[in-house]
Symmetry: C2
Subunit: 162 residues, 2 copies
């Protein structure tokens, strides 16, 4: 069991691209989704997959259990998705001692770019890069679970101001 603490932001421009250290293609779908729990399947590129069970409605700290499963199983299970299958490319960006993940969505959410930074404690204060926009930590509209099972309004998707 791991506690997950992260802050989430919209992204203002493309300057993060020059600091990318890796990229991964992600597909994810929820096979169960309730207010206080979720079961998510995620594939990485075309090689690996995980099942993740999360409990607790709090947005900052949750109980999370994650296990590797065969990629072929995951590709089947995704057919039982509740709502949308989320497809995005995740870029890893290093900035002043913190690792940021920048998610560039496609499909229904083309235009949406979200940056997350994982903290080792709730007291961590990362420097914010200049490409960071409005903080949306705790804004459930931008949670994976809501993006997958509902439909984000277009004006919340197209937020990049070049």
């Amino acid at each position: 069991m791991a506690k997950e603490i992260e802050r989430k932001f919209l992204v203002r421009n493309d300057r993060w691209r020059q600091h990318v250290t890796s990229e991964t293609r992600l597909r994810q779908a929820y096979v169960a989704s309730e207010d206080d729990r979720s079961v998510r399947i995620r594939t990485r590129d075309t090689s690996s997959a995980q099942i993740t069970i999360k409990f607790g409605g709090s947005s900052l700290v949750r109980d999370e259990y994650e296990y590797q499963i065969p990629y072929e199983d995951a590709a089947e299970i995704i057919n039982f998705a509740i709502g949308n299958v989320i497809e995005k490319t995740r870029y890893t960006v290093e900035y002043r001692g913190f690792t940021w993940e920048v998610d560039v969505f496609d499909g229904a959410y083309t235009g949406l770019v979200i940056a997350e930074v994982e903290l080792s404690s709730a007291e961590d204060k990362p420097d914010l890069p200049d490409w960071i926009g409005r903080e949306v930590t705790g804004d459930k509209r931008y949670s994976n679970q809501i993006l997958a099972t509902q439909r984000l309004k277009p004006e919340l998707v197209h937020v990049i101001s070049h």
Copy 2:
């Protein structure tokens, strides 16, 4: 992905006990439970645990995905059970070329004994031992999912006629 075909019966008496080849202590709980899908955690004795995802409302054939997870994780996840935690001892009984599993429940379902036989095809016709009672294949009241998330009526529990 495995297809699961099984028949399920109530048990009339204790004569199966002389043919037991092994026994396992099982605890199981559902962390998600919908008409067309479920996510179940199960521990075996105090050593191993599985997560099982099932899809499809048909009682005879379902899509089932099962993965080993750490016992310690499972013991934590069971605290997030929807409804009852099912506790039972499963006895394996060999009879005329088929392997039967006899589940003796305790806790809220003390008195309930269910026998299942797994078939390799829907055409398999196993000989029924003389301790077998009424067939309940497809009777959702006796499904693990309903037993866990609802409450079986007492008159459906106490069915042994000695």
